[in-house]
């Protein structure tokens, strides 16, 4: 049977799961939407939207300081997410989970707070050549303030870091290594466990930008032994404006607060203020309560599918997509690392990425074109921009077929 031959090996009915995302059943430009811009932001299942709706309608109150029932219930729900996140990434303590507004905010927190406490003049901050701007600019800002220097781990033509260069770059002045777990522009999965072991052998802490990793595979921060781990809710079917910073308690306890305000204090007078404990000392002001509660629901949803299943299914899709794209004349995939997440970044030898993106949009196919907030990556591969199709577990082979047909149509129009 032809159908059986193309069926996924994963024992989850992903087409049923797709039905839980109402946004995907709409028409765009008269055709059914093919959404392949998941690395920019993913879609939300109905149950998360419903949870958010129910909170707004029936449950809202401010958290952490209310004596009344509604406030206590909202606090319980909001704090429950912290436990869910702890279990989801296997953190040792609940207090190691800090709520932020997203990956960018998480990295800024570490750059500022860890940077203030631990980075000194002449120190080095080690980044990779294919970082997202969110994992470059905050470090440049603290480096400038402290008189520290940014050093860059080069990557080879496939987008894999050059191991020996990495090891050579680690030295007594290295204050921190900050790299993406998965590259947003290329999909490279860095050998992070090995990198962390190497850095730790010299007592250097490591931050991982996990924005493109957590949505696609199980992440275990204790197994990785990572010191800081940042990710965003909206890239894993959760709400926007919410993210996580995991940090080892030994660092968080030593780090000063980064923003001042309500909730992060112990005692306040005009002469002196003492601060709350981790994680609350990093969470000033009324937090994004509804997003936090919505994210808790998102984690339950993902757990029910199983991150292992998601990883396996997306790898099948990635393989299929890679094969199909490679069959198109003139198309070259940028980013061919040994281990990749479900990102297909590509260029055509004669057609600009934005032209391909525009013609795909006319056919109801959503991809991203441009530099993907990773201009140094584009320079490394000597391309002004790429077209990027990024897959989620609610995509299927039919989406990829539509993509490749769409690209062929685009190419025919520019001949």
């Amino acid at each position: 049977m032809a159908e059986a031959a193309t069926k996924s090996k994963v024992d989850v009915d992903f087409n049923r799961i797709r039905e839980q995302f109402p946004v995907l059943s709409q028409q765009v430009k008269g055709q059914s939407l093919v959404y392949l811009d998941n690395a920019a932001s993913s879609q939300m299942p109905s149950r998360v939207a419903d949870r958010i709706d129910a909170y707004h309608r029936n449950e809202h109150a401010n958290v952490h300081r209310g004596i009344h029932t509604l406030s206590q219930k909202a606090t319980d729900e909001y704090e429950l997410t912290r436990e869910k996140v702890q279990q989801f990434i296997n953190a040792e303590h609940k207090d190691e989970i800090i709520y932020t507004t997203g990956t960018t905010d998480s990295i800024n927190l570490v750059a500022n707070s860890f940077g203030n406490r631990f980075i000194e003049e002449g120190d080095e901050i080690l980044l990779s050549e294919i970082e997202h701007h969110a994992n470059i600019v905050p470090w440049q800002m603290i480096a400038k303030r402290k008189g520290a220097n940014i050093r860059v781990i080069p990557v080879d033509d496939n987008g894999d870091i050059i191991w020996d260069e990495y090891v050579d770059l680690l030295n007594d002045n290295t204050a921190i290594v900050a790299v993406g777990h998965v590259s947003n522009a290329l999909g490279t999965v860095h050998p992070v466990k090995k990198m962390i072991t190497e850095a730790h052998s010299r007592d250097i802490p490591v931050l991982l930008d996990g924005a493109q990793a957590v949505p696609h595979a199980p992440v275990d921060v204790q197994d990785l032994d990572v010191d800081f781990y940042a990710f965003s809710a909206h890239k894993m079917c959760g709400p926007t404006g919410f993210g996580i910073l995991y940090g080892k308690k030994k660092y968080l306890d030593e780090m000063p607060p980064y923003r001042g305000g309500g909730d992060m204090i112990d005692k306040v007078s005009f002469e002196e203020t003492t601060y709350n404990v981790t994680p609350h000392k990093f969470e000033a002001g009324t937090p994004p309560i509804v997003a936090g509660i919505g994210f808790g629901e998102t984690i339950s949803f993902l757990n029910e599918i199983g991150m292992e299943n998601i990883a396996q299914y997306e790898q099948e899709l990635l393989e299929y997509g890679t094969e199909q794209l490679q069959r198109i004349d003139g198309i070259r995939i940028i980013g061919t690392a040994k281990e990749k997440a479900s990102v297909l970044s590509f260029v055509h030898e004669d057609i600009h990425a934005t032209d391909i993106g525009t013609i795909l949009d006319q056919q109801g196919i959503a991809i991203r074109t441009g530099h993907h907030c990773a201009q140094p990556t584009m320079r490394r591969f000597n391309v002004p921009a790429t077209a990027r199709a990024s897959l989620s577990f609610y995509n299927n082979k039919e989406d990829i077929n539509r993509l490749t047909e769409g690209i062929r149509k685009a190419i025919s129009m520019f001949e």
Binding site: K29, I351, H352, T354, D355, T358, I359, Q362, T369, G370, P384, A385, K409, M413, F414
Partner: protein
């Protein structure tokens, strides 16, 4: 004699009316870009780059006999086609006409999505830049007259 700016606007609308679907319309736009030719390398400089474009757009301008001459180029084909339409529309017109006439044809030919100020392809930035040039020339011409 250069055609009236409103006549050109109508011509473009009529041209696109004859095309049956989006494929034909985009092909026509791409063709406009191919017919535009390329900008001299000496004008493809940083200061002529229009900001806010995902693809690169260069805009060069000169004033000749009270008319603004625009020349432009882009490294992306659809953008270049849209740029070519703008050059056809505005180049050779008086500063006054450029300032007072908006490219309403863009919406009528079904390309309004490209003119959105929030879109990163920067056609809106280009139109703004063309008007800024026209205003500068207008001021220059008025000063010239005042001196004479």
């Amino acid at each position: 004699m250069m055609a009236d700016i409103h006549e050109i606007q109508q011509q473009i609308i009529d041209e696109f009316k004859a095309l049956s679907d989006w494929t034909e319309r985009y092909k026509h736009i791409i063709k406009q870009g191919q017919n535009l030719g390329s900008l001299d390398e000496e004008h493809k400089v940083e200061e002529n780059l229009v900001r806010g474009c995902q693809s690169q757009v260069w805009l060069h301008t000169e004033l000749e006999d009270g008319k603004v001459i625009f020349e432009a180029d882009s490294d992306a084909a659809i953008t270049k086609g849209l740029v070519a339409l703008m050059v056809r529309f505005y180049s050779g017109q008086t500063p006054e006409d450029i300032i007072n006439t908006d490219p309403t044809f863009i919406k009528k030919i079904g390309m309004e999505q490209h003119l959105s100020p929030t879109r990163s392809n920067g056609l809106a930035s280009m139109v703004k830049q063309m008007k800024i040039y026209a205003m500068a020339y207008k001021t220059k011409m008025q000063k010239g007259k005042a001196k004479a």
